[in-house]
């Protein structure tokens, strides 16, 4: 096993994070708000899943934590804490590493894999010699389970398969000796068998290095196997938070319930497909009330009139929060499926 350098275990805390469009010509107010009031935490050694469909704001939230927000988006409020340290907007905290969906576009095609990892090593540990960094790069490749690491390190990205490229990307991420790993759809472009291998690797690094991992994905199947807790976003807001099994087995928010019914495995079990009707509203149609109200079976006028807070589901349910004034209970959920 490669020598493991010391990592500082740290928690991530996101409090009241709001992100908005920062472009001339965009109306001020709700219309430009892309992510509203997102709060959650990831403890060291924990893997938390952030789920949502396209346009829900999950990737923006992730890139805000990594300090890689796209231009034209600004932090309108909230704080991000890495350990005890407050991260100002746009600050790339050295303890946070991020991996992306498409390893081919995030690797430099004209630089050998080993050199790309060595570069990350030298950026983090100023003063490391080139040869020491190269040696460390080979160790890191071994750590991410790339076979024949020494010769692989001299190859270019095009000589790597998709899964291998993603392993190399993870290698670059851990070369920073991070405390926090933000994984934005790390296995979406991969085949299921390769996906399992890469997820096993991320899981192993989490326990070995005590990483706090935030896994962003639209694939609830992957999350159900890997994550301790699940956060679900819809239209830029967190709509449900809780233990993975609780959320998946007894969803309280009608959106989460509807989403689960769309999943082929669940539809098979139910004997039929019940698609959610309509589509996610674009940001310029977002309202201050519940943004799911127009697609929701149990919506009342009260839902749309005022903002709905993310509130604990019940006094007894630990860490289980839902943004709904008519949350589903096991009894009403049964009624819905019978309808």
């Amino acid at each position: 096993m490669a020598t493991m350098s010391k990592t500082r275990a740290a928690d991530v805390r996101v409090e009241g994070l709001s992100l908005e469009l920062d472009e001339p010509g965009v109306a001020v107010g709700e219309a430009q708000r892309l992510v509203r009031d997102v709060s959650f935490g990831v403890a060291a050694g924990e893997m938390v899943g952030l789920a949502g469909e396209s346009g829900s704001g999950k990737s923006l939230t992730a890139s805000a934590i990594a300090g890689l927000m796209p231009s034209g988006v600004r932090r309108a409020g909230g704080t991000i804490l890495i350990g005890a340290e407050v991260c100002p907007p746009g600050h790339r905290h050295p303890d946070v590493a991020m991996i992306f969906q498409n390893p081919m576009t995030s690797l430099n095609p004209s630089v050998r894999i080993g050199d790309q990892i060595a570069e990350a090593v030298r950026l983090r540990h100023k003063g490391t010699s080139r040869s020491a960094a190269r040696k460390r790069a080979v160790e890191i490749l071994e750590q991410v389970e790339v076979s024949q690491a020494a010769s692989r390190a001299r190859q270019y990205p095009f000589e790597f398969s998709g899964g291998m490229r993603q392993r190399a990307m993870i290698g670059i991420a851990i070369a920073r000796d991070p405390a926090v790993l933000v994984a934005d759809e790390p296995t979406t472009a991969l085949d299921v068998t390769v996906q399992r291998g890469v997820m096993d690797l991320i899981d192993r690094l989490r326990t070995d290095l005590g990483l706090a991992v935030l896994l962003i994905s639209h694939d609830l199947g992957v999350m159900s196997e890997r994550c301790d807790r699940l956060l679900v976003m819809y239209s830029g807001e967190l709509v449900e938070v809780g233990g993975t099994r609780q959320v998946l087995d007894q969803p309280a928010h009608p959106y989460v319930d509807g989403l689960l019914r769309c999943i082929p495995d669940r539809a098979m079990a139910a004997g039929r497909l019940q698609p959610l009707l309509g589509q996610v509203p674009p940001p310029n149609r977002w309202i201050s009330g519940c943004r799911f109200a127009d697609r929701c079976g149990s919506a009342t006028p009260a839902c749309e009139s005022a903002p709905v807070p993310l509130a604990p589901l019940s006094p007894s349910a630990q860490g289980r929060e839902v943004r709904c004034i008519h949350p589903l209970t096991p009894a009403t959920a049964g009624e819905r499926s019978a309808r």
Binding site: E53, H218, G258, I263, P264
Partner: protein
């Protein structure tokens, strides 16, 4: 049992990529594939990237000319010598994975759907466009949306347009090459539901290529699993369980699928 609609026998396709001055690299994308698809059936093709799923589908519709073997549609050969029989195109339509690149961005939605009608039915433009509107209505698109250009639509809406376009010429066989893979689950469910409704209404035979086993289990009657260009398993969709399949590769594939 209903008649055989599509029959493939001994299909082989080899791709050559030049690496001059080294000898060309030959890849057998499909290697001696034979299968039969019956009218009204829904068949799924599963496999990992590079297993030859898309090449096989391409050979069914003239996008990929096989090096050897025959494909017959209701008894008529699709290829005579090196030539694809274009008049059979009407009966076989393809919907691609990427709704973002498979529509003409310069035409409105209605024009996109009217195009095959102009080509095959030689209708005049006005009739074709009103027929296109009916088709779009069937796939759940109506109103001012049909006068917009495809770039202004969402992924799910574009995929609905692609399906309407494919249905315009009343095909017997609808080939779906990863047609729901790029969509969010809730949109994916809407499109799968639409395809299942159309199947019942139009007596369509559908072939769905997907890497997502759970989609195939839900959508198909029968599933074919491919590996390295060969069919390694052929079974009823309901039998796609790790305990029931015979091939070790299929079992491995099924066990890798994350469970909810």
């Amino acid at each position: 049992m209903s008649e055989v609609l599509l029959q493939a026998e001994g299909l082989v396709k080899e791709y050559r990529s030049s690496r001059w001055p080294a000898p060309a690299l030959r890849t057998r994308a499909i290697d001696d594939v034979s299968l039969e698809i019956r009218a009204g059936e829904t068949v799924g093709i599963a496999g990992e990237s590079g297993s030859g799923k898309s090449t096989l589908i391409g050979a069914f519709c003239g996008l990929v000319r096989p090096d050897a073997g025959t494909v017959r549609l209701a008894g008529l050969p699709l290829y005579r010598g090196r030539r694809f029989q274009r008049e059979l195109w009407r009966s076989i339509q393809l919907v691609f994975q990427d709704p973002y690149t498979s529509l003409n961005p310069a035409m409105t939605v209605a024009q996109n759907v009217a195009e095959p009608l102009l080509l095959w039915h030689r209708e005049d433009r006005r009739d074709a466009e009103s027929r296109a509107r009916e088709l779009l209505d069937q796939v759940g698109l109506s109103g001012p949306l049909v006068e917009r250009r495809p770039t202004t639509l969402s992924g799910g809406q574009r995929q609905r347009v692609s399906i309407a376009r494919a249905l315009a010429v009343d095909p017997r066989l609808l080939l779906l090459d990863e047609s729901v893979s790029a969509l969010d689950v809730s949109i994916q469910a809407q499109i799968l539901q639409l395809l299942m409704d159309l199947r019942a209404e139009r007596e369509l035979t559908q072939v769905l290529v997907s890497h997502d086993i759970s989609v195939l289990k839900l959508f198909c009657d029968r599933v074919i699993v491919m590996q390295h260009g060969r069919i390694v398993e052929e079974c009823a969709a309901a039998d796609l369980e790790p305990e029931l399949v015979s091939e070790p590769y299929t079992r491995q594939l099924l066990e890798a699928v994350p469970r909810l």
